[in-house]
C-alpha cells in the first residue's frame, strides 16, 4: 500500500476555555491512518473527540501539537497558505449532522453546484458534475425542488451530492445519520457504501450506530479524546465489555452470544455475524444436546 491518505501522529487539541463546556474535551495524543479507498468508522461517546478529530483533518481547527498529513502533505506546517488549505478541503469532503444547516441554496441543483462553483470550474463541467452527483445519490428527479420540502434523508443525500461534485478522495460523515429516521438512515448508508465500493472514495463514518460501524473495513473507538480500540469490526466487536466501558453497545447478536457463552459455557467466538450464520451456530449448539 502506498502512502496513507490521512495520517495523524500524536495529535493533541484543546478548546480555549471560553468555549462552551461541551467542546472542552481535547483530542489527546491521537494517531491514526486512513488509506485511499478505505471505509473507516469512528465510534465514541458524545464528547469523545471524534468530531474534533474530523475538524482537525479538514482544517476547521488547528492542532496544538502533533502532525497531520493529508495525501502526504503536512497540513500542520506553519507555512500553509490559504491555497494549500483550499487544496486540502478539495480532497477531503465533509457532511455534517444537521441536514438543514449545510444546504446553502434554495434549489437542489444550485446547492450541489455550490462546491464546484467555489473551485472555479467551467460552467459546463459544473453542470456535468452536478448531474452525475445527483444521479449517484438517486436524487436526480429532485434537481429543481426546494430543499426545505425534502425529508431528512433526502436533504442529507443532497449534502452528499454537494460534496461528491467536488470529486474528493475522502468524505467524512460527522454523525450524518444521527438525526434521520430508520428509512433515511438506510438510504444514506446505502449511498455511502456505493460511494466507497463503486467510486472508490475513502469514507470516514463518525456514528453512534453499531450496525453502521459493522459495515466498515476498520473501526476506531474513541474515549475521552484518545483512541481506545482499533481494528476490524470483528476485532472490535469481540470485546463487548470494553465497548460498554466506552459508553457504547454491541449489536444484539453479539450481546446474545456473549451472554450464552457466559451462562451456558458455550465457546462461540465473538465476532460480527450475519443473521444466518449466527442462528446456525446457536442451532448447532442446541442440537448437539
Amino acid at each position: 500500500m502506498s502512502n496513507p491518505l490521512i495520517k495523524l501522529e500524536n495529535v493533541t487539541f484543546k478548546y480555549p476555555d471560553s468555549e462552551i463546556k461541551e467542546n472542552n474535551f481535547a483530542v489527546n495524543n491521537v494517531s491514526l491512518e486512513i488509506n485511499k479507498g478505505e471505509f473507516v468508522a469512528i465510534l465514541g461517546h458524545n464528547g469523545s473527540g471524534k468530531s474534533t478529530t474530523a475538524k482537525l483533518i479538514n482544517m476547521i481547527l488547528t492542532a496544538e501539537s502533533g502532525k497531520i498529513f493529508v495525501d502526504g502533505k503536512d497540513i500542520t506546517d506553519e507555512n500553509m497558505t490559504e491555497d494549500d488549505i483550499f487544496e486540502v478541503r478539495k480532497k477531503i469532503g465533509m457532511v455534517f449532522q444537521n441536514p438543514d444547516n449545510q444546504i446553502v441554496a434554495t434549489v437542489v441543483e444550485e446547492d450541489v453546484a455550490f462546491g464546484p462553483e467555489n473551485l472555479g470550474l467551467d460552467p459546463k463541467e459544473i453542470r456535468k458534475r452536478v448531474d452525475e452527483a445527483l444521479e449517484l445519490v438517486n436524487m436526480k428527479e429532485y434537481a429543481r425542488h426546494a430543499p426545505h420540502k425534502l425529508s431528512g434523508g433526502q436533504k442529507q443525500r443532497i449534502a452528499i451530492a454537494g460534496t461528491i461534485a467536488m470529486k474528493p478522495q475522502c468524505i467524512i460523515f460527522d454523525e450524518s445519520t444521527a438525526m434521520l429516521d430508520p428509512m433515511g438512515r438506510k438510504d444514506v448508508m446505502n449511498t455511502i457504501k456505493r460511494l466507497n465500493k463503486v467510486e472508490g472514495i475513502a469514507i470516514v463514518l463518525i456514528t453512534h450506530y453499531m450496525n453502521e460501524a459493522v459495515q466498515a473495513d476498520k473501526v476506531i473507538v474513541m474515549k475521552n479524546g484518545s483512541v481506545y480500540l482499533e481494528g476490524t469490526p470483528n476485532q472490535v466487536f469481540s470485546q463487548p465489555q470494553k465497548l460498554w466501558n466506552a459508553g457504547l453497545e454491541v449489536p444484539q447478536s453479539i450481546e446474545l452470544i456473549d451472554k450464552l457463552n457466559k451462562e451456558l459455557g458455550f465457546d462461540i467466538p465473538l465476532k460480527v455475524y450475519a443473521l444466518d450464520e449466527c442462528t446456525e451456530i446457536i442451532k448447532n449448539k442446541l442440537m448437539k444436546e
Binding site: L264, L275, T279, I282
Partner: protein, 290 residues
C-alpha cells in the same frame, strides 16, 4: 383503566388544497394509565399528529379526545389547562431552553401553573433527580451545558409540572448509547415512582422493546395494532408488512424457529432470549414438533 381515549379521530393537513394529506384516519384508541406506552411508526405514519392532539396543540377535524374521562375540547377557551395534565416533551427539547439559569428554566412550567414557591422548589429537586442531574447545575446557565445535559434540563422542566401523562417525542434522538440508556432509564424510573402515565414516540424498536410496557403501531394514518409489548412484538409479519423492523433479537428468534428450533415467538429482549435458549438447552426439548 385507561387515561386517554380517542374516538373516531380524523385529521387532515392542508384541507381543501391540492396537497391534502390525511394524517389520522378514523383512529380509535385507548392508552392505559400507570405504564409506559410506546408509539411506533414511520415518519408520516401519523404518530406525531396523534401526540399533538393529546394536549390540544391541534384539534381533530372530527372525533373526541378524552383525557381522564373528560373531553378536552369541551370548553375550548380553557384548552391551555389541559397542558398541565398532559406534559409534552418535543423532539430536541434542548432548543426550547431560554432562562438565565437552569433553575428558572425548570420553574417556567410550574410557575405557569401558579404553584407556590416551596412546591416549585420541591418539584425542581425531584425532577432533576429523575433526569440524573446534580444540584450544582441549578445555578448554571442552560447555554453552558453539554448537549446531553441540556436535553435532561428540558425534560426536567416538563416532569416538574408533574403531569398525569408525560408525552415524549423521540427523547433519545441523537444521543450516544450510554446517553440513550440513561435518559430512557430515567424516564422509566420517573414512571415507576410517580405512577403517572408515560407515552414515548420512537423509531427504535430495540428501545421500545426495552423500556415500554405497551405499544401502539401506526401506519398510513391508522393504528395497525396495539397491546402489551409481548402481544405487539410477536406479530412479526404485521410489523414487517408495515415496513418496520423487528428488534434484531426478535429476528434471530424467528430465524431459529424457521430452522426448526422450538422457541417461543414472543421474545423481544436479549435477556428474554438468553432465558429461553437456556431453558431449551437445559431441558433438551429443542426441535420439538415442527
Amino acid at each position: 383503566m385507561s387515561i386517554v381515549e380517542l374516538k373516531e379521530i380524523n385529521f387532515i393537513y392542508g384541507k381543501k388544497s391540492p396537497y391534502e394529506i390525511k394524517a389520522l384516519d378514523n383512529v380509535n384508541l385507548t392508552i392505559e394509565e400507570n405504564c409506559i406506552t410506546g408509539i411506533i411508526g414511520h415518519t408520516g405514519s401519523g404518530k406525531s399528529t396523534l401526540v399533538q392532539l393529546l394536549n390540544g396543540l391541534i384539534k381533530a377535524d372530527s372525533g373526541v379526545v378524552y383525557i381522564d374521562g373528560k373531553d378536552i375540547w369541551e370548553k375550548p377557551k380553557e384548552i391551555s389547562r389541559i397542558r398541565f395534565d398532559v406534559g409534552m416533551v418535543m423532539q430536541y427539547p434542548e432548543y426550547q431552553l431560554f432562562a438565565d439559569s437552569v433553575k428558572e428554566d425548570i420553574a417556567f412550567g410550574p410557575k405557569n401553573m401558579g404553584l407556590s414557591d416551596e412546591e416549585i422548589e420541591k418539584r425542581i429537586l425531584q425532577s432533576i433527580e429523575f433526569c440524573g442531574l446534580e444540584k450544582d447545575i441549578l445555578d448554571k446557565s442552560p447555554f453552558d451545558l453539554s448537549g446531553g445535559q441540556k436535553r435532561r434540563v428540558a425534560l426536567a422542566g416538563v416532569m416538574a409540572m408533574n403531569p398525569k401523562i408525560l408525552v415524549l417525542d423521540e427523547p433519545a434522538a441523537g444521543l450516544d448509547p450510554k446517553g440513550r440508556r440513561e435518559i430512557l432509564g430515567g424516564i422509566k424510573e420517573y414512571q415507576r415512582k410517580s405512577s403517572n402515565s408515560v407515552v414515548i414516540v420512537s423509531h427504535s424498536m430495540e428501545d421500545m422493546a426495552m423500556y415500554c410496557d405497551r405499544a401502539i403501531v401506526m401506519s398510513h394514518a391508522r393504528v395497525v395494532t396495539h397491546g402489551t409489548c409481548e402481544e405487539v412484538f410477536s406479530q412479526h409479519q404485521l410489523l414487517l408488512d408495515v415496513g418496520l423492523d423487528v428488534p434484531e433479537i426478535t429476528g434471530i428468534i424467528l430465524e431459529l424457529r424457521k430452522k426448526g428450533i422450538n422457541i417461543p415467538d414472543n421474545i423481544y429482549t436479549v435477556d428474554g432470549a438468553v432465558t429461553a435458549i437456556k431453558s431449551l438447552y437445559l431441558n433438551g426439548s429443542v426441535g420439538g414438533g415442527v
